[in-house]
Symmetry: C2
Subunit: 685 residues, 2 copies
Amino acid sequence: MINEKLLTPKSIAVVGASNNTMKPGGKIIKNLVGNGFQGEIYAVNPHETKVQGIPSFASAEELPSVDLAVLAIPARLCFNIVKTLVEQNDTKAFIIVSAGFGEAGEEGKKLERQIVDLVDRNDACLIGPNCIGVMTPSHASVFTTPIPPLTSDGCDFISGSGATAVFIMESGIPKGLRFANVFSVGNSAQNGVEDVLAYLDETYVPGVSPRVKLLYIENIDNPDKLLFHASSLIRKGCRIAAIKAGSSTAGSRAASSHTGALTSSDAAVEALFRKAGIVRCYGREELTTVACVFMCKELKGKKLAIITHAGGPGVMLTDALENGGLKIPQIPDSPARQTLKEKLFPGSSVENPIDFLATGTAEQLGEIVDACENDFDVDGMAVIFGSPGLFPIRDVYEVLDQKMKSCKKPVYPILPSIINVKEDVAYFLSHGNVNFPDEVLLGKALTKVIHTPPPAPSELFLEGIDVDAIRKIVENAEDGYQSPEIIHQLFDAAGIPRVQEIVAKTETEAVLAATKIGFPVVMKVVGPVHKTDVGGVVLNVRNVAQVQKEFHHLNRIEGVQGVLIAQMASGIELFLGATYEQNFGHVVLCGMGGIYVEVLKDVASGLAPLSINEAQSMLRQLRSYKLLKGYRKQEGVNISLFEEIIVRLSSLLRHATEIKELDINPLLGNEKEILAVDARIRIKK
Amino acid sequence: MINEKLLTPKSIAVVGASNNTMKPGGKIIKNLVGNGFQGEIYAVNPHETKVQGIPSFASAEELPSVDLAVLAIPARLCFNIVKTLVEQNDTKAFIIVSAGFGEAGEEGKKLERQIVDLVDRNDACLIGPNCIGVMTPSHASVFTTPIPPLTSDGCDFISGSGATAVFIMESGIPKGLRFANVFSVGNSAQNGVEDVLAYLDETYVPGVSPRVKLLYIENIDNPDKLLFHASSLIRKGCRIAAIKAGSSTAGSRAASSHTGALTSSDAAVEALFRKAGIVRCYGREELTTVACVFMCKELKGKKLAIITHAGGPGVMLTDALENGGLKIPQIPDSPARQTLKEKLFPGSSVENPIDFLATGTAEQLGEIVDACENDFDVDGMAVIFGSPGLFPIRDVYEVLDQKMKSCKKPVYPILPSIINVKEDVAYFLSHGNVNFPDEVLLGKALTKVIHTPPPAPSELFLEGIDVDAIRKIVENAEDGYQSPEIIHQLFDAAGIPRVQEIVAKTETEAVLAATKIGFPVVMKVVGPVHKTDVGGVVLNVRNVAQVQKEFHHLNRIEGVQGVLIAQMASGIELFLGATYEQNFGHVVLCGMGGIYVEVLKDVASGLAPLSINEAQSMLRQLRSYKLLKGYRKQEGVNISLFEEIIVRLSSLLRHATEIKELDINPLLGNEKEILAVDARIRIKK
């Protein structure tokens, strides 16, 4: 429960303040003062009356009323200080930077819990412990540098690691990335990344609150909360990019089943991010580049113009964007193109990339941008302009700055000469712009952004799904792998089509069953475990006489308890399965069966519950999608029916979290119908 | 024909020298002087007697003998100056930075040719025109900045674009990348990228010449030369990384056939680079990161230790490396691990990543590196050490510097705090080290390097290949698609197994043919074009009686000229084809046939001629490799036979460059044999 006192306190007390700025308690004071905090700052240090010119108190008891307290003292001293402040000084917000708590063992965990209880009881909020602190446009209560530009049009940034937060800012600042609120949540004692995000969602004011959120996450404790608030913020117009570190460790976790071998909690993270509309990043450079893309105007299509004064970077950017699915369309001939061409030096190209040569001027750049904005059929522009170091190029960057502000289309500036025209680039950034020093990293970031889907709708598909029946079946089921009967009941309750099956004890029953189901049928012995090995499965039984014959044959097998008569499904072998991931819920996997899933690993995943749109996008991700649709003379499957079955399965699972593993194998489909032939379900309550 | 005068001239004349350092002719003088050129510098400027303190001559005629001339004057004046210098002043090396030549139209092309002729006739060398110049450890004859550190242990860098060369250096310098010789080849009038590389190969002295070569290429005019010298240099111990810009434009080129749709000249570039052992990069940041990897000691295995004082970057690097196929193995418990653990602060981890906490010291770092070097089973180390900005960390970087020099295993330094400890990082770089500010970009570069194969052997596989016969067949063939007879002759001459086929005119001939080939056979009508449509193909003919019956049946079809009796091949449908790429030769494509090539695009490519190793690595790249080997109950194909057929085809093609398109379809294989059933070959002379 973050509160306003944390973000915009009128007064801040630094407990453990020091004159030594190489100590955290000294650096926090320095940062607060240096960054121009407008309210009162109080120091608490028993040995000083002034700390860096700030009045210092011998103990917390002596402090006046204070909104926010930052504690940089040994862990064992923190509880009493918090108690004094929260009970006597009306302090409602705490940042504990000190280590030695939960991360250090049982003793520390206990201490941490006591402080959380105390803070909770008093309706106060706590960031940390074991963190670098918090920065907002109002105050920089951190013991680290650098302090980035803190403005309300910057990014909000929530980090599960303090050092990583520092390194991410060091990666972003040279690109001109500005920040608004930076939270280092440390041990997440009261507030983790999800909780801070929830607060930012709940207090979001369109047009006022920061629009871009960056997350660095090591553990997702509450995936539902993350999903809910990330989706909500994005629907309100925000953009979110996040790193979830640890994809490989999770990937190597031993898998419990054939399906599980393809899932992992990283698949769950991936599915969660896609569902929420979060752009997933894997490194600092990538995160800050995506953040810079977010700081530009929104790209509303896939067509870009590349404006450059140097061939090479223009070509490399074209490669990166086209390979990533964006378009660098040739500008068709037109009066506007003619007019533009006349304004450029001979030898310039007005196709696309638009190359206005090494000698190109600021004025020409302005003309090109205007033409792209008003006349050419493109959705955005990338402008590449560096310098061989002969003379300053400030005039060009001035025009670029103006155009970026006046254009409705996004303009992505690529200023590669971070050495030659360092000052000019700094001037450009000082006007609130970002810079992409490497065109290919921009290209990849843009590609990633454009391919991230919007948040999935949160409504649950319930048409024809008997939730009560599902609950009853699951509640009565025992732990372990379920019998065919229970599986059938569950599928029927969820409207998942399956082959009809009837167990016959006598020849007459067998004939009746086959007639009811319709020929051809499959006959299977009931009783023996390894049916195929004992010759207990007969496919393609086409008439009554054959049923009679096979019944007698099967009935002679040792251990026979009956004969199962089943509908004979046909078509393409499909794959549909799910595993339950602790906290996340079910990751649903789908694709074509057999080698497609086992060898080619051509599987799409999504987080239950799924919408039809999500199922659609899952299927379209498959390399084998063309085969599913029917390729050449090969019949495909009914795609919309497959989508519906995926959605139905996901709704079933959402109401049966006790199902830890589910595997429909095989699921056979053609253009008319798709039928589950066999399935495995494991329940654990 | 680059010569030594270009690299280590005793005297340099700058024609068009100026006092205005914002002009190329002024900046070149400034760079030469500023970079401490040890020989004589002469200026040529009719209006000055001194230029920037350097003696200036009114005309080239007045100059003394001079080794190298740099021309920064209008294009039309260049010929006469070169003529004077090369004929009267014993000048053997020229750099023309001026534009207005070949790139500007016909007139310029003519001028350029005249100068090349003149230079050629006089055994002199020319770089440019239309370039930024040349830098070597001896002189910086460029009109641009920055001038990177130029030392013989830096990289050689050859660029097809001047501006891009500048931007690449601006990307490399902040990482500590040093350079040796930098060539901007401009219009490549006499020397292109390949020619400069050839010179570097021919003059290579192991242990003395720069070991790392970087290339930025826009056009590969002479792929054979590039392949030959790149391979040669790499075999001598060099490492080469290159950008070939323009992958997307080429990729969109309309394809002329089903095979061609998957090929493109970019596939040829890709195949060429892989064959040569060149690490292919797609952007500046990537190129300079790979170059920094090359500057470190060679990684001789796949196991890395990650040493870090901050969790986050360690995890992200683990992800990047493990996902890229490297290993971050857990360090097993051992006395050495115990001893190390005791030297670190409580809470440190000595598994892997080795995390020695935010409070970790320089001394501890030294101990960890020593343990990784001497005791732990790893092939290299990545050390992550930044700073939250509280105090300088020079002692840590001093230890790191020493250890990097003393260790036999490579140590990759990741110093992310390029703001907080800017001076310490600069100090570290000043000791000749590189830095990887972003761990994930390092991880990707390292992955790319480790996955680039060594140069392929250059011997041609000729066992059982009748080159004379191939030449005779091709020389006698007419342009266009070839008849089955010619295709059979070619395959037989190359030892490519194919189904046996005999055309029978009578029933007796048909029976004899079938008996000779062996049952079952396929019978096809000869004459009608659409054989299948007229019922002219009969599969699986099993005995003499059936041959007789089908012969009569087929013989009744309109337009019949005979009946073809063919061996009935069976097994997995394979794909093998090739297209001829201008200058490159044949790009050979292979994979599984049908949907694997058409829908799943699971195709591997290589440049003819191929070795068995290359064919092996092509097949292993396929996602369907497991299926080729035989999956579950499904029979596979004879892999080593498939490899041999790929190699044989490539050797055939190497002797028949007139074949522009070749497509074996189908090629059927099982565990015993692989047979070409049908093929299409197009010849154009």
